[in-house]
Symmetry: C2
Subunit: 135 residues, 2 copies
C-alpha cells in the first residue's frame, strides 16, 4: 500500500496551481514564482508532483506545442468534469467547459464503434475560440 507524505514543497506548488486555476501554467512559471517568493523547490520535484496530480485527476496537462514545454492547470471540480467536454483555445489559453448532449453522443459512438472508453475529464479539444478567431 502506497502512502503519500505531505511536504512544504507540495504545499507551495499546489497553492500556486490553485491560485491560477483559471489559466494554465508551465513548469517554468511555477519555479519562477516560487523562487521569487523565496520558496526553493527543485525542478525535479515540480515535475514529479505534477505527474502525480495528473494521474489523480487534480491537474490537467496541456500540450500546446511541442517545442516549448507542457502546461498544467488545476481542476477545481473533478466530478463535474466527467460530465462534459473541454475546448482549449491555443491562442488565449482559455478553457471552455461544454455540456452538450451531442458531445455525450460522441463518447457513446467511440465506445460502440471503436471499442474505446473515452474519459471526458482528460480529453481536450484544441483549437481557436471565437474571440481569437475574429482578430
Amino acid at each position: 500500500m502506497k502512502q503519500e507524505y505531505n511536504t512544504k514543497q507540495k504545499e507551495y506548488i499546489l497553492e500556486y496551481l490553485r491560485a491560477n486555476a483559471q489559466t494554465h501554467v508551465s513548469v517554468g512559471d511555477i519555479l519562477a514564482h516560487l523562487h521569487a517568493h523565496g520558496r526553493e523547490v527543485g525542478t525535479t520535484t515540480v515535475y514529479r508532483y505534477l505527474d502525480r496530480l495528473c494521474r489523480s485527476g487534480e491537474v490537467r496537462k496541456y500540450v500546446i506545442d511541442e517545442t516549448s514545454g507542457a502546461c498544467y492547470q488545476y481542476i477545481a471540480d473533478t466530478d463535474e468534469c466527467e460530465k462534459h467536454f473541454h475546448l482549449k483555445c491555443t491562442r488565449c489559453g482559455r478553457l471552455i467547459h461544454v455540456d452538450c448532449a451531442y458531445l455525450g453522443e460522441v463518447g457513446r459512438h467511440i465506445g460502440e464503434h471503436h471499442r474505446f472508453t473515452v474519459d471526458s475529464s482528460k480529453t481536450v479539444f484544441y483549437g481557436v475560440c471565437e474571440a481569437c478567431a475574429e482578430k
Copy 2:
C-alpha cells in the same frame, strides 16, 4: 523568387511518407527506414523537408505529447484529414488512429454550435482501450 531543387533525399523521404499515408510517422521512423535501406539522409534534412511540406500543406504534423516527438502524415486528399482522429489509452499508452466520418462531424458541430474551430492535429481522446478494459 525562391526556387526549389529536386534531390535524392527529398525523393526518398516523400516516397516513404506516401507509402505510409494511412498512418503517421515520426522523424525516427523515417530515419530508421531509410537507414535500413541504405539510403543515408541526415536528421537535419528530414526536419527541414518536413517543415517545408507542412507549410505547403502536403504533410500534417501531429503533436500527441511533447515528450515523444511529433508525428507526420502525408495528406493525399485534403478532405480526408478531417476524418483522422486519435485515441490514446491512458493505461497502456497505445495510440489508435481512427478514420471516421462521424468524428469529422464533431468538428463541424463544435464550430457551428459552440463557435470554436477544432484543430484535430492536436486533439486526442484519452481513455481506455478494449484490451486494457478487459483486464
